[in-house]
Symmetry: C2
Subunit: 165 residues, 2 copies
Amino acid sequence: MTDFQPIGVAHSPFSTPGAPPFQSAFSQCVGTIEIFPEYREGLMSIEGFSHLIILSHFNRAVQMALVERPLIDDETPHGIFACRHFNRPNPIGVSYVELLKVTDGVLHARGLDLLDGTPVLDIKPYIPAFDSFPDARTGWVTPRHIEQIRGAGASQGMHNRQQQG
Amino acid sequence: MTDFQPIGVAHSPFSTPGAPPFQSAFSQCVGTIEIFPEYREGLMSIEGFSHLIILSHFNRAVQMALVERPLIDDETPHGIFACRHFNRPNPIGVSYVELLKVTDGVLHARGLDLLDGTPVLDIKPYIPAFDSFPDARTGWVTPRHIEQIRGAGASQGMHNRQQQG
């Protein structure tokens, strides 16, 4: 099928696969997304949005798996479509970042959870009426799991993790 | 870069490019996502999630554009990264659906906004702590625009639209 090409690249302090926090909602990391010059016209009127959806290519995912043991529940295997692990059949990440400013084709953003150099495939404006479902049920993911992730994200040092989204 | 391959296909009542409602949040359409047999193991423990994130390939997007005039504001052009139009450099859609049931590798879902036959690239569980930002600011998209979309989604007959996400 279509061979997707990156429209930009993420720059973050996370240069080693073990480093990035693994959910952008819990990351305070400020980084940048550099949009390549030929796509910068597409940023027009993006400044008014406080949050963006970032689709990225987990190009350092090590292998495809259909079942994984997520860090937050490493006792129990879950289907890859029931967890956010990066070892996916199509390793495309969904991140949400808070847009701080835009300068010369570069998005400055808080909550970046991507490894430095991660290719960016698409950016969409986050619109709560379309994208926010605060009451969604979360299956095997309990409040205890969420707190584990929150703590891990805050410390920004995840052991043995690469990219999740 | 990686040549992504579909893991499944959407089945919906929307067989013509003008038909689908253009935000899943406002669609009451019940459709199915058929996961191909070789990926079905990845559905393990997905039943507990009420909402899923669907990444799809807008394979009938007609052209790439960097600036578009969205239906809800067709007077004013906006950058493609500041709107949800389907004519994107990488035509990957983000949809959110409500999972009703899973039978034999088929997800039955409400809120499907995809054309019948749309290739599905990935499915992730929706987790409000990661994915819900109810207070995000929406730039040029005003409450009036949202109401227009809601009305259009409810009627499920969009004139001259194809796929947005």
